[in-house]
Symmetry: C2
Subunit: 297 residues, 2 copies
């Protein structure tokens, strides 16, 4: 089983073509639903009393939500706006709401999880949470500029405690104060990460392990409408694939990253979670085949 | 035989670590020397009376320079400065000098070239030059923002006349007024290009042909010191490889692009032309093997 911990949100997303208000989002939501294509996935997150029933239904359809707390107050809200290129997002508003004082509990049934993903979240919460799992075989975390700015030391401490870091290129540079992505990865490995996966959006990703570098090209798409959650879907698919294989040998790590690229591509071609929710049986395998054919020479 | 037409320059390059003054450069210089690893390459270019003998010796060591004119006046000069990330360059000065009134002539011995590369240069000059070749099997051009700003219609006309366009991502967007690279490529194909190759610097490239997309990851390097000429080295290697194979089937086009990535990687790991000039027998094949191993999963 896989456990995903992190934020579930009500997002307002502004793209050049459309504005979505209070749609279901959050790093853990995207990651967990993406992972659920591969393995039974439990979610640890918190929402407020205002969390719509239809979103609750979506979560419970795809996930084990015994770790989902419903607290008095409002759900975490995020409001962001993309520019014309869809590659730069500016944050208009972040309301932590129930997230602020959340004291996450790991349900007993989750404690045996061998795979744990700490989606972007307060690194101190992540550090205390990961300690509650007794049988972790592979743990992975993400982070963003907000935590790097406010709690850099805790981010580094969190990196020490997990097996793998998955992080955006710009955030990797910001965190490590390096410009070259190989230098960024080496620094994170010095801090204790065994694997570093740097996400580069449409340009794919770079994975680092020991002296191995594994670059992948992105899955090329003509109609990208909303990049929200693509990186989270990438990470969720990656750890979901590994949890399914129950193995983290290098060959499986590489394949997991290819699945990450592909799930990210599903995420961006529709608004909000819709891209992930539309995936039907066989769609993933089909796209993996297309990708393999695409990059062959 | 391959003919490369374009600029030979005396470059001033400012990187965070080093300033190089009046070093041998120019799009055609990089492309032709890169191509010369694969096939006999003739250069059509112009320099001034001030062009140093040692640079002339370098050109004549690697290339057929019967197409090199030495005119009264000064050699084309370019002065540019890279930022700390080495990914953004600002132009400080461009002195066209002898380039301005250059009336390129194709030596009789070059006229049988089946492969012709129009390196970044005045699109009108490129258009009139390509007409002088009788037996062209495969022609390719590049362009930059300067020509797109000043002679966009001629750039489009030039694209109609060649088989392949190789162009940077930012310039592809600027030229086509599209944001998505697939949309950019489709527009250039509508204009008449059979193949479109979009270079993405460290992120590799995308090749488009009919409904085929071929993405490649870049060759990851930790120590990039000077990106000058990387794109030209990419293009030169690509067409040089094809000229050597005397074939432009899709499989060879894809391989040619991988060679392009690899020659670009040699270019950036030393200052100016030094990266290309240091290549020894076997180095390219070795790096191709490393690349193939790197991306395998």
């Amino acid at each position: 089983m896989l456990t995903v911990f992190g934020s579930t949100a009500l997002d307002t997303i502004r793209t050049p073509k459309k504005k979505l208000t209070n749609v279901l989002g959050g790093a853990a939501t995207f990651a967990a639903i993406s992972a659920s294509n591969f393995v039974d996935t439990g979610l640890i997150a918190v929402v407020g009393k205002d969390f719509p029933k239809r979103y609750h239904d979506i979560l419970s359809k795809y996930l084990d939500i015994r770790g989902l707390s419903i607290e008095k107050g409002k759900t975490f809200r995020y409001d962001g706006s993309y520019d014309n290129t869809l590659s730069t997002r500016s944050t208009l508003k972040t309301e932590l709401n129930v997230l602020e004082d959340f004291n996450p509990k790991v349900p007993e049934v989750y404690k045996n999880s061998q795979f744990v993903y700490l989606a972007n979240n307060d690194p101190e919460q992540n550090i205390s949470l990961i300690k509650e799992f007794d049988k972790v075989k592979f743990s992975m975390c993400d982070t963003i500029d907000f935590w790097i700015s406010t709690k850099r030391d805790s981010v580094i401490k969190m990196i020490k405690m997990v097996d793998a870091v998955v992080i955006n290129d710009e955030e990797a540079k910001f965190l490590t104060k390096e410009f070259n992505l190989i230098k960024c990865a080496k620094k994170m490995m010095q801090w204790g990460a065994k694997y570093v996966i740097i996400k580069k959006g449409e340009h794919g990703s770079l994975m680092f392990y020991d002296d191995v570098i594994f670059p992948t090209a992105g899955f090329s798409l003509e109609d990208v409408v909303d990049p929200t959650g693509a990186g989270d879907s990438f990470a969720g698919a990656m750890i979901g694939y590994l949890a399914n294989k129950k193995s983290t040998n290098l060959s499986n790590i590489k394949k997991a990253i290819v699945y990450g690229n592909v799930l990210g591509s599903f995420a961006v071609e529709n608004y909000g979670l819709k891209g992930l929710l539309k995936i039907k049986k066989g769609d993933i395998a089909k796209r993996i085949k297309i990708y393999e054919k695409m990059i062959r020479f």
